[in-house]
Symmetry: C2
Subunit: 164 residues, 2 copies
């Protein structure tokens, strides 16, 4: 076992006979929390923006035809209400546009505006640099293996009905 | 590569040339979000409580002598303000006690009460069962390896200064 350096976190003082499943979950949560905290702080300091906004813009950036509100909330794994509030703000700031779907006026389609695209393109390489730096202590082989094992976990979660 | 079943999440429509670091981060975030969502919903339905409360009680359960507010916020990786609000509520409900440190009256020590211990002991096996079920699709070997790789990631994060 390759234990991490002592760190006060959710794993602190965990009994040595703690179940493997629980250890994996707590370490997963610790890693996610640490990365999120770094990214949150860096986005605020460098771009005066939030993770939620960055995530929403990144989904739209990968969808040249835009996304419906439902698609956005699925991909971001948040509620429709969350997406609505966030979209309202981004529309006001001119970073995204929102228009009724042709043929289905109850459905709204969200797209990046040119200003939104420009703003996001400015953040992308910087954000990638932060993630690279945080993972710089891992080998490529370890990262590839971690990605594969997280893929198996994701399959396990889907099989257990955690998908929706 | 053992890719997960199609699922609308943060990895959707990711370009195939996306950097490995970013893929790992997005998949890590997806897995954490899925597990958190399940645990949040189950805690609410079964015990009418929240993840934040469960986490705080679980830290105190592992600390027979109690923890100071500072230790609690470090281990839970949240701000002092968050811990204070949460502790206020749990004190009112009689689940934890809060008293000045002998010899350092500016510092407060939090402990589980007997009622808090009883409440937490009732949740523990049920919570473990949820995590077991979510990871049931993974082999022991995969879980052990995942724990090890997450340990290396945690070391990398600490080395990159994400610890504090």
């Amino acid at each position: 076992m390759n234990d991490a350096a002592p760190l006060l976190d959710r794993e602190s003082a965990l009994a040595s006979d703690t179940k493997l499943e629980l250890k994996v979950w707590l370490r997963l949560l610790t890693c996610t929390t640490l990365i999120e905290r770094e990214v949150r702080q860096s986005l605020r300091e460098r771009f005066d923006t939030t993770i939620a906004r960055f995530d929403l813009l990144s989904q739209l950036d990968r969808a040249p035809k835009g996304l419906t509100m439902g698609e956005l909330s699925s991909r971001l794994m948040v509620t429709n209400g969350n997406v609505t509030g966030l979209t309202d703000a981004l529309v006001r700031e001119g970073l995204v546009s929102r228009a009724p779907e042709p043929g289905d006026r109850r459905s709204l389609r969200i797209r990046l505006t040119a200003a939104g695209k420009q703003f996001f393109d400015g953040m992308t390489p910087v954000h990638e640099g932060w993630i690279d730096r945080l993972m710089a202590g891992m080998t490529r082989a370890d990262m590839a293996h971690l990605l594969e094992l997280l893929g198996r976990l994701k399959q396990s979660l889907a099989a257990a009905g955690a998908q929706k």
